[in-house]
């Protein structure tokens, strides 16, 4: 009866698009070209869906779709691209850490603090040079809830949140890949860890304050740069198979 047209539209969406709309997430592994129909379905969302409840989280066009495009362009047709997307938000009980009572002074009557860990995007892509890329974007949110008596004598409860965004990108190189350490260190905001072995692993991590959605893609790309500087364009490690 209500929202009949939009409900029908959702039924016509790609199943993963439908899952993002109704359940706000999915976990799936698909071959490279099987992502294209997902992206094409997502492209129709804003013209077909008005209801607030079914709006796509802005991180879908802001980070997920761009990273699908970028990683797919570096993959062979038979490469697998896995995605775990969770756009349900940091407020879920399962993401909440222990509450701590904080010392207060009047007029504040009490304050609790807790952290929530919200890993909202994880991707794994088999690239065409035989390396495997894994990326994870996690929001660490600090919540502070305080009770305070206002001038009217009424008790008010206020919750404040502060977010730090963690971006981690790991590249596992093909066996015997031609790799060389970059000539210059990464910027101070990017930390690098290296694991030697049969297959070299380079991990880059970045921490960003007060994440803005429209900057998420820039931050992911900024951290991703480091593991790829080990094989600059034109000297890329060839597939060994």
């Amino acid at each position: 009866m209500f929202w009949r047209k939009q409900k029908a539209a959702i039924q016509r969406f790609h199943p993963l698009h439908r899952a993002l709309t109704l359940e706000k997430g999915f976990t799936v592994s698909l071959r490279r070209d099987d992502w294209e129909p997902v992206i094409q379905s997502l492209a129709r969302h804003t013209t077909e869906i008005r209801r607030r409840k079914w709006r796509l989280d802005e991180r879908v066009p802001g980070a997920l779709v761009p990273m699908l495009r970028i990683l797919a362009s570096d993959m062979p047709p038979d490469g697998v691209l896995s995605v775990a997307a969770d756009m349900r938000g940091a407020e879920l009980p399962e993401k909440k850490g222990p509450e701590v009572e904080m010392p207060v002074r009047p007029p504040v009557l009490g304050m609790h603090q807790w952290y929530a860990l919200d890993p909202w995007l994880r991707m794994r892509a088999e690239l065409r040079d035989g390396s495997v890329l894994e990326l994870a974007v996690t929001d660490r949110v600090r919540f502070r809830r305080r009770r305070q008596r206002g001038s009217s004598g009424k008790v008010k409860i206020k919750t404040k949140r502060k977010t730090v965004q963690l971006v981690q990108v790991t590249r596992r190189f093909a066996k015997d890949a031609a790799v060389r350490r970059p000539g210059t260190p990464p910027p101070a905001s990017v930390r690098v860890q290296v694991k030697q072995g049969g297959r070299l692993v380079v991990r880059a991590s970045g921490k960003f304050r007060e994440p803005l959605v429209d900057r998420a893609i820039d931050r992911i790309l900024q951290v991703s740069t480091e593991p790829f500087r080990w094989t600059p364009p034109g000297t890329a490690a060839r597939r060994t198979t």
Partner: protein, 129 residues
Amino acid sequence: MDAAGHGREEDHVNRCTVTTGFFVLGRCGRQAAASCGQCGRPVCAEHAAPSGVCPECLAAQGYGSQDPHDPAWARGRRRHYYQSSSHAYQDAAWYSSFDQYDRGAFNPGDDYAQGGDWGSDDDTGFVDS
């Protein structure tokens, strides 16, 4: 390893040299149908724009798609990405290695040519980057 090893010498003049990929660069490698009106590189039917200019020259002119749902978005964003990351990393070699690779329109079909077996016309399943 090199599926296209045979016939490379006689073939290479006629292959599309448009750069593919984002971090792991390659060449398109499909049969060329035209050449770019600006940089002169051979381009295949898929990469030939109505304007007669190759995708990379279009992107350099600022005509890249702003919509990530567009299959051409990543390619349009690529040069800007290498410029800004080179700046953020204070690594001039990072950008110049991209620029040299991208402008070095010779040696088509090296590394990750999408053409695969050059004798085949089976172009299905490509992701246009």
